[in-house]
Amino acid sequence: MLEIKNLHASIAGKEILKGINLHIRAGETHAIMGPNGAGKSTLSAVLAGNPAYTVTEGEVLFNGKDLLSMAPEVRAREGLFLSFQYPVEIPGVSMTNFMRAAVNAKLTHQGLPALSAGEFLKLMRAKRALVELDNKLANRSVNEGFSGGEKKRNEIFQMAMLEPCLSILDETDSGLDIDALRIVAEGVNKLHNEQNATIVITHYQRLLDYIVPDYVHILADGQIIRTGGKELALELEEKGYAGLIQ
């Protein structure tokens, strides 16, 4: 599904990713862990097409297509979803209008007719229940005045609405208490199936108790320095990054 080959990327002339290689197949969950500044968020930003970053070398194939040549919105419509570490507040734009524009853009891209107002609201209701997102939140402006936990639940709600084939969860656990973490993780697990894949970017092993990865990759200084099964996260928890990086 996703094939990253020797990916190098920089921001403001500073190289952050220094040759990433990663292969993700449908049905898999991959965790990417690493210390601050290792390039975890840069990797997700580059895959999503954030214009602040420049790819200097390498190639990324997404379902066989050249991901890096696509505009960010095309990547999204092709099924790539990024759950933001810091979801953006958009005052004045209602969640409903925002999601309707997003869902219909994807349907149009697939050559399907847009949803009627009734169908759309029905879909919103069904997906909202998945992450226990209050109707009040769904009627507000995008992320405006949401608590940290509500913002993260809102990300997973949007993921449920868009049914991506590849979801990248960037530090979805940051700022969440244990109850909110469980709700978010359960939402992610319910959405997971044999046709889609998930990349979980996290600092801590804790999230991986709830979202169990098939593979764990350790990212340090812009490169993946180790890959293992879920037990690697436990080893990391025990030895710390310093112990593993040596």
């Binding site: 960010p72 999204a76 953006v88 507040e89 958009i90 005052p91 734009v93 997003a102």
Partner: protein
């Protein structure tokens, strides 16, 4: 130049909607008697280049209220100047102004907000807010709030900001599959919402939304 004179009688409520200014310069000269309420909705959408709108309002009776809601969308080489001149001559008056502009390409917008509180106009409550978005690096906005306050027991405030469209919000929307143009339009519609919604007329609101969309296309 055409000058339209309006006299708003005591206790009268008057609404003035300025949708299209075909002339180079349009000027309204308005006097408000006691307890009158004037609401002006100004939409600078189809302006001629080098057009100028002047709103000259004087409160001559006490407890009068003046509300000005204005927006402008300027593109190409348009140059539009909006000047409001609100004079509180008597005590206990209230005025509130909210003007927003989005300027694109090489267009230039000017807002001059003159607010005068005469020496005996105590207990005046006067507010002026001007918010602007530049949509291109070559677009320009000149904003000039001019407050002259000669009374000492008044509430007066003004604020003016000019910025760019929020890039992080644009990327967030793109990441959900929304095209850049549509994302920009959603953000601008949101930006103008508090001005447009004051009209509370669905049909006019839709016309304005369409104009905004046309201007951005």
């Amino acid at each position: 130049m055409s000058v339209q004179e309006l006299h708003i009688e005591a206790g009268e409520h008057k609404r003035l909607v300025i949708m299209h200014v075909g002339e180079q310069t349009a000027r309204w000269q308005i006097k408000q008697e006691a307890d009158s309420v004037l609401t002006v909705h100004l939409f600078c959408l189809d302006m001629q280049s080098d057009a100028e709108v002047l709103l000259d309002i004087e409160q001559v009776g006490e407890h009068a209220e003046t509300y000005i809601y204005g927006l402008g969308v300027l593109t190409g080489k348009q140059h539009v100047r909006v000047r409001t001149h609100v004079l509180h001559s008597v005590p206990n008056g209230r005025s509130s102004q909210l003007l927003k502009f989005a300027v694109k390409d090489e267009a230039r917008a000017e807002f001059i907000g003159e607010l005068i509180v005469a020496p005996n106009a105590q207990h005046t409550d006067a507010r002026q807010t001007n918010r602007n978005v530049l949509l291109s690096p070559t677009a320009t906005m000149h904003t000039q709030p001019q407050l002259e306050i000669y009374a000492d027991d008044v509430k007066c405030s003004h604020g003016a900001t000019t910025g760019q469209i929020d890039e992080s919000a644009l990327f967030y929307m793109q990441q959900r599959g929304i095209a850049l143009d549509e994302a920009r339009q959603l953000l601008l519609t949101a930006f103008f919402h508090d001005v447009v919604s004051t009209l509370a007329e669905q049909e006019v609101e839709e016309r304005i939304q369409n104009k905004i969309a046309d201007a951005l296309a």
